[in-house]
């Protein structure tokens, strides 16, 4: 199979998954007890108004017609209107994406920058103090709920020693960057950085721990393979054996794990945003669930599902480039 065909196949599978996600959500909404009209207007409102709203929402139609309408709307990117605020859900989702994206990217960067060196040290100096340190850190890291970690960071670094803010996002990254590029004023960027550090560390710790663990055990596995001995026999520098051969091969499977963990990252973002009042998708999702605002819940989860699928196709593509065997399998 060629790389293009492989990608096409994965994309088609991805479309099926997205369709599934969309359908599951439609089903969930349909089985939710209670009359959505009550969520939009006061229950005391007269029947005529209620009927009008029902008609506007298409709720008077048979369920399959609703389903087809829903799919048609989705195809053009229309996620409907929030019960609560009557705003278009597409807008409500998109306006919250940058905040969550900033958080997720910052957490991933922190995780990779810390975890890979830590994993390498741990995997190459087995049973030395550095290894014990790294393994203990990763054990605690994967065992700590991130909301509690966030609260403890607030307690220590925002309440006891007041060096970080307790939360909120006073400025968006893209605005701060624009300010910097147009006026050379770094203040906004620094404010952004100051506010994102605690949330990013909170969200990133689990992944740091996870990647450290995977890198360590991956390197130990990899060093046991015969090709490493064969490569050593060639006489190439140790640096190349360690990084070009062993670490590279260790990271290839880790990339796919990270793709699968993308959902965990977003789930973690929901909680982290709540802890730090970080105005992202997660905070909005919690709002939506508290108000049973199904169009909003649905819109956010569809968005998350699609990103998950897209990220995983990208990951598979990278994986296939790095390890061409998978294409043939």
């Amino acid at each position: 199979m060629s790389f293009g065909k492989f990608l096409l196949k994965r994309s088609l599978q991805g479309l099926v998954v997205i369709w599934g996600v969309v359908t599951v959500l439609f089903g969930l909404r349909a089985i939710t007890p209670g009359d959505p009209v009550n969520l939009i207007v006061d229950p005391a409102v007269d029947q005529a108004t209620r009927d009008r709203i029902r008609e506007e929402l298409g709720l008077d139609q048979p369920i399959y017609v609703q389903y087809v309408d829903y799919l048609q709307d989705l195809l053009v990117g229309d996620l409907g209107y929030s019960y609560q605020s009557s705003r278009p859900v597409t807008t409500m989702v998109l306006e919250r994406v940058p905040a969550t994206l900033e958080l997720a990217v910052a957490a991933t960067v922190i995780a990779l920058v810390i975890a890979i060196p830590l994993g390498v040290i741990s995997g190459t100096r087995r049973n030395e103090p550095a290894d014990y340190g790294a393994t203990s850190f990763s054990l605690v890291g994967i065992s700590t709920p991130n909301f509690w970690l966030g609260i403890m960071l607030i307690l220590l670094l925002a309440v006891q020693i007041d060096i970080f803010p307790t939360g909120r996002r006073p400025v968006a990254f893209h605005d701060a960057l624009w300010t910097f590029l147009t006026t050379f004023y770094v203040g906004d960027l620094l404010t952004w950085l100051h506010h994102i550090i605690l949330p990013a560390v909170t969200l990133g710790t689990y992944f740091t721990a996870l990647i450290t663990r995977l890198t360590r055990s991956g390197m130990l596995d990899e060093y046991g393979k015969p090709y490493v001995t064969a490569t050593e026999a060639k006489g190439i520098p140790g640096v190349l054996i360690r990084y070009k051969h062993v670490l590279r091969n260790t990271m290839i499977p880790i990339i796919t794990v990270l793709g699968l963990q993308f959902g965990t990252l977003l789930g973690g973002a929901v909680v982290t945003e709540t802890v730090f009042s970080w105005p992202g998708l997660g905070l909005r999702l919690i709002d939506g669930i508290n108000n049973l605002d199904w169009p909003l819940i649905q819109g956010i989860i569809i968005f998350i599902g699609i990103s998950y699928v897209v990220i995983n196709i990208a990951v598979d593509a990278i994986y296939a480039k790095l390890n061409p065997r998978v294409i043939d399998e």
């Binding site: 890979i116 060196p117 390498v120 040290i121 190459t124 100096r125 087995r126 030395e128 130990l220 596995d221 060093y223 046991g224 393979k225 015969p226 090709y227 490493v228 001995t229 064969a230 490569t231 050593e232 026999a233 060639k234 006489g235 190439i236 520098p237 140790g238 640096v239 190349l240 360690r242 990084y243 070009k244 051969h245 590279r248 091969n249 290839i252 790095l322 390890n323 061409p324 065997r325 043939d328």
Partner: protein
């Protein structure tokens, strides 16, 4: 006319495992002349693979070379070492056990290179074959740019983590140069791989086993080594392919005149390729000599058993299990001070309860045997009674799997310390 290239005295390699100390190679002696094809033959578990790896310096924890000298005849190296470590030099010979680890490592690829049994697992699956061969070429290219007599040679580790990181952005910082890539293609062509330009860009999984073994030979030749150690080079291959690969090795040997140390369990391969043979049993050479010595004038009952068990010279010969009894235990506390073969030997006598020295035997000058039969006739009255060893041997199920000992015991987990434990972090 012939010139000695390797002289190994008393080499001992041990593995320190949970079950105890494994004497994979025990007080091992060997001489190899330049241009020779020397074969080491033995059952699996006899320590022959560990011997090969000890010579190339690829012993990994929990294994360790504990004793012995490996004298290597290389005038340039002798000159370079003489200043700092005169004790490691004897004329043009250098004792590889007494030079610095860095210098020892710098001999890999350029002085000693190795072909492994299983080509599929001996290539990195995620890099192209061309790239991997080019790495070996590059080792040679950089080495010849820094002649051995200069100090720079041992600093061949100058390719640092920094360079590696930079190489992701700056092609000029890459370890492997364009010239090496081209040479890699030439080498692929040399070993008979069709369309070498295209195949160089393919990954190992796209090669057949035989092709990949050819590629490994190309890789081993890239460093223009003095000694090529081939560890069961054909065992993993189909019979027809085996013959082709042996032909190729033969051809390359006569062209380049390089020295080959061939490790195999297959006497057919030995008969076809080698000038001299050592028969290995329980970590030591029990009989050695020219091909004729060993095949026609052998003295040792083990050699006898090996030869008796060949179904047909070129046959598949699978695992050779010529002689009744267990493969030798290499566990130190089970080996005892006797002829290690005594428990399986049909001719064992009381005299065999002492470890026999090496006796000269009839035939060529080199013919030597570690067996009392070289010095005295078999005497039935002194024979050891049947079942004698069943009692003296400790509980039989505790044997280290000889397969493990041969490949370098892989204990439960990978326990591979790095070359430079204090190495840099990224």
């Amino acid at each position: 006319m012939t010139e000695e290239l390797l002289r190994i005295n008393g080499l001992s390699t041990r593995f320190f495992t949970e079950q105890g100390q494994v004497n994979a190679v025990d007080n091992f002696d060997l001489r190899i002349d330049r241009g020779d094809v020397f074969g080491i033959v033995g059952e699996s578990g006899s320590g022959k693979s560990v011997t090969a790896r000890s010579i190339v310096d690829l012993i990994e924890s929990p294994g360790e070379i504990t004793d012995g000298e490996i004298w290597y005849n290389e005038p340039d190296l002798a000159d370079a070492v003489r200043e700092d470590r005169p004790e490691a030099v004897d004329g043009t010979f250098v004792d590889l056990r007494r030079i610095s680890p860095e210098r020892r490592r710098s001999l890999r690829g350029t002085s000693f290179s190795m072909i492994f049994q299983d080509p599929e697992s001996s290539f990195n699956p995620s890099l192209t074959v061309g790239e991997q061969i080019a790495e070996a070429v590059e080792v040679q290219r950089r080495a010849s740019a820094n002649p051995r007599s200069t100090r720079a040679r041992t600093r061949s580790e100058e390719y640092s983590l920094g360079s590696f990181v930079l190489s992701s952005f700056l092609p000029s910082k890459r370890y492997v140069t364009e010239a090496s890539r081209e040479r890699a293609i030439e080498l692929l062509e040399l070993v008979g791989i069709p369309d070498p330009v295209e195949r160089a860009d393919e990954h190992p999984h796209e090669y057949s086993g035989g092709m990949l073994q050819r590629a490994m030979i190309a890789q081993a030749l890239a460093g223009e080594p003095d000694v090529l150690v081939a560890d069961e080079p054909t065992t993993a291959l189909d019979v027809t392919i085996q013959a082709q690969v042996l032909d190729l090795l033969d051809e390359l040997q006569s062209e380049t005149g390089m020295t080959i140390l061939l490790i195999t369990h297959n006497l057919g391969v030995i008969a076809r390729m080698c000038d001299r043979v050592g028969v290995m049993y329980a970590g030591e050479i029990v009989e050695r000599g020219t091909l004729e010595d060993v095949f026609d004038d052998h003295v040792h009952p083990y050699t006898e058993g090996l030869l008796g068990s060949i179904p047909d010279i070129e046959g598949e010969a699978g695992r050779l299990q010529p002689i009744d009894g267990n493969v030798p235990s290499l566990l130190d506390h089970e080996m005892g001070d006797r002829c290690h073969f005594a428990d399986r030997c049909p001719n064992a006598m009381e005299d065999c309860l002492e470890h026999p020295p090496e006796y000269d035997a009839e035939g060529s000058n080199d013919h030597a045997v570690r067996c009392v039969l070289a010095a005295q006739e078999y005497d039935e009255r002194r024979a050891i009674p049947d079942g004698y060893f069943d009692e003296t041997r400790p509980a039989g199920d505790k044997h280290v799997d000889p397969e493990d000992a041969d490949e370098g015991p892989t204990v439960d987990e990978p326990q591979r310390p790095l070359e430079e434990p204090g190495g840099e972090s990224p």
